[in-house]
């Protein structure tokens, strides 16, 4: 059912290959996005984990910012870890200019350095389903504040870890490292497909 979908993964730096692998495994077609021309014709975009400082730097170096900002305004987008930082509105680090797709304030590496990274099985309620997903928090960002329009979909230790606003989904953790497709399916079903239905079509 996902064969027709074209989903991009920002491939400037980070674990973009894991996301592409997951997309292929689900039957969707994934595409590496390194330049702005790679965004054309995509139904959705995943911004992966990695180093947000590096991604921010390369977004400007490869002149992606304008088109990326436009894309995340009206198309489905999912940010994991560093991707969440890039999609936030405010960050505790002035060297990074986030894309502002979701009204949250984020502290980079809010859980601490690598010795404080951790793995846990998360109990999530997605729509009307309860699911358990394996999750790695790796030098993860911490959400400090959320705007009124933001839906908090899950918390861990009283901090939001999975949130959405409009077409945008963000998670502070990684499930793709464990080949778990639950969140990817959720992203496609609840964000990519509905957003696609709203786009003008040229007929098929």
């Amino acid at each position: 059912m996902y064969e027709r979908l074209k989903i991009g993964v920002l491939a400037l730096q980070g674990d973009f290959e894991r996301h592409l692998y997951q997309l292929t495994a689900l039957g969707a077609s994934g595409r590496e996005v390194r330049l702005s021309k790679d965004l054309s014709g995509l139904d959705g975009l995943i911004i992966p984990g990695g180093e947000s400082t590096t991604m921010n730097n390369l977004i400007d170096r490869f002149s992606l910012r304008q088109e990326l900002s436009a894309f995340v305004k009206h198309k489905a987008v999912w940010g994991t870890c560093a991707g969440m930082i890039m999609l936030a509105t405010r960050i505790n680090d002035s060297t990074i200019e986030p894309l502002g797709a979701i009204d949250i304030t984020v502290t980079r590496n809010g859980y601490g350095r690598q010795v404080f990274s951790f793995f846990t099985d998360l109990n999530l309620t997605l729509g009307d389903k309860n699911v358990i997903v394996p999750a790695s928090f790796i030098r993860a960002p911490l959400v400090n504040k959320t705007g009124d329009a933001v839906a908090v979909l899950a918390k861990y230790d009283n901090h939001p870890i999975l949130l959405s606003q409009g077409n945008c989904l963000v998670s502070s953790f990684h499930t793709e490292l464990h080949s778990d497709k639950t969140l990817l399916k959720y992203f496609i079903d609840k964000f990519v497909l509905p957003a696609q239905a709203l786009q003008p079509t040229n007929g098929i």
Partner: protein
Amino acid sequence: MDFTDKTYKIKVGLAEMLKGGVIMDVINPDQAKLAEQSGAAAVMALERVPSDIRADGGVARMAAPEIIEEIKKAVTIPVMAKCRIGHFAEAEILQALEVDFIDESEVLTPADYKYHVDKWKFKVPFVCGCRNLGEALRRIAEGAAMIRTKGEAGTGDVSEAVRHLREINRAIKTLTTMSDEELNGAAKEMSAPLSIVKVVAKLGKLPVPNFAAGGIATPADAALVMKLGAESVFVGSGIFKASNPEKRGRAIVTAVTQFSDPKALADCSRGLGEAMKGQPAAEIPDDKLLQIR
């Protein structure tokens, strides 16, 4: 040895996050900041870069804690540091300093010529160098979360990194064609656990990220090792021994992201000034090579 261990997953997870990102050797906070600004995904905190270690001689050890601490304060990207091969006390100190990754490195003078650090005992992930698949798999069996080629550090000559990458690729390809009996034999020949040999034969790649290091000095060098299958690069002396470290650092980062676009590589290779002078690895006598450690 338990590859389903949760701490191990977290360690390999950070290695995954560093893919496609350049890791740069730095010896002070100013260099660290410059590395971060040029787009590095991590820095390696050192007392001396490999070409100076080579030139100065003497015993090369873990960097002093104050150097590591100053560098940690200067940047927000992950900070790595090197310990001597087998020197688990240095590794424990680096873990206590909360570095994000430890490189058990042949660039420093080995502390133990027989045993490597038992990396399973640590919360901090380790990267180790290798020249061939056997070395890579033995290091993974000891708990390494990332593998890099040894190359020949401090030379500015990429040929040894290329040799090591090709050697690993060739050996992995051969494993994928082997029967179970042959895999048993291969495990014995490489002195590597059969369970890991079987995983590699099935995946057709290493089970942890595989980076290139040792002698990378230009954007073209970085593109070459990426094309040969490296998942990213470490650059040691190549940046801060060049005439314009800022431009060269930026260009190598661009080359790693755009390695398959020769036009972009040509553009980023322009106007970089002098590369490090270097020394052909083939001119170094065998007993002076760092990679044999």
